[in-house]
Amino acid sequence: MILLEYKELELLITRVREISGFDFSGYARPSLLRRASRYLTKHTMNLSELYIHIEQGGKAIYDFIQELTVNYSEMFRDPDFFISVRSEILTYLESYPAIRLWVAGCASGEEAFSMAILLKEAGLFDRSLIYGTDLSERVLSSARQGVFGLGHMRTFSENYMLAEGRNSLSDYYNVAYNQAVMDPYLRKNMVFSLHDLTGDGVFNEFQMVSCRNVMIYFNLEQRQKVFKLLYDSLGMFGFLCLGKRETLRYSGFEENFRIINAHLNIYQKIK
């Protein structure tokens, strides 16, 4: 295992910004240190080899940034969260003529497709629009295709059943060439586009924002900025969903939300 020190990491962050324009400065350092060390180990590089590698710019540095920012995702991750969304959020949104939902930091679309299925089973899908955004064009193009490795579907199906799904997850995909291809019907009301939570602004008003396990990427100051962006993107009485271990603590917006589910970190904007 090749391990970096913090001062080496800071120099690397500066160099990455100079070469690519991508700014890691708002990212949580301990996590970044771990990710960068893992990158070196995985690619059997030392730090000077990494510099030579990223100096090439283009794909080389893009891949490096991609590996340091990619987030881990599953369909119906934390099944009890989806049970709660169904009973506590969708019952509320039922009365709305149109529902806009934003999955911020959507990676390859696992969460967005899970939401689409949930909305469909609640009879709300036809008047819903799901926006999935991420800072990586690569994961987005995979999300747009709606294709997942068949190997993952077992875990996803187990999650779906634990989330008390109405059917079988396999009703929503076809298998082709050892891959699960999501039903194109679900793609109809989904939009995947590029958006960097650390740089880009508000682009619509939403009734629900799901930003799970994304806040843990950021340091205190950056996290507060992202919370402001999410707050500004929510309509009044809109819902904010955070990861299972993420709360509004240190967000600066503790007073602006009421707790819908303290265990699952579901909040509603009230002022």
Binding site: A28, P30, S31, R34, Y72, I216, L220, R223, R245, E246
Partner: protein
Amino acid sequence: MTEPPLNPLNLVLMGGSSGSFVIFEQIVKLAVRPLPCAVIFVIHRGKSSIANLSYLFKSKTKVRMEEPQHLDPVQNDCIYFAVPDYHLLIGPDKRFYLDDTDKDFFSRPSIDATFTSAAHSGIEVRAAMLFSGASQDGASGLKLIAEKGFDTYVQNPDFAEVPRMPAAALSQYGGHHILNEKNIFEEISSVLYSYST
């Protein structure tokens, strides 16, 4: 913070897997206020494990116990338990960071992740200890802490319920102190309170 810190922040790190739970319970029982260090337990748990260890051990000690959240400050006189499904990292700014990168040795939380981050944090590590378990997780993190000049301890594999983890640590680095069955808890207690003021 309601009370001034007892002395500069210093960490006692405890890692374990199968066979460690009972030992951890005993260690928690040893803790009395004021605890002159922050004790951080990392035990392998399933991702759907919902048992909150700080509640589970509530009757065992009067010391404050928490499952830290992202960015919570690390403080002396507190016992922390890593939550399931995230790595628990310690930052140079004396805060906890949650991380969901890949598992180490099929484990999240991984002991190596916590130990390694503590070694890099610049925060004083009073001691790091590794107990019974069925994987090699923790061995390289413990070695790194030892190489930084801090005290490291390993449960004697001969009396560990599952010897693989402490044995792996010893095979990677021979300089760890050995915790033997007859006086393990006396020894841990003296580590916890060694230079309390």
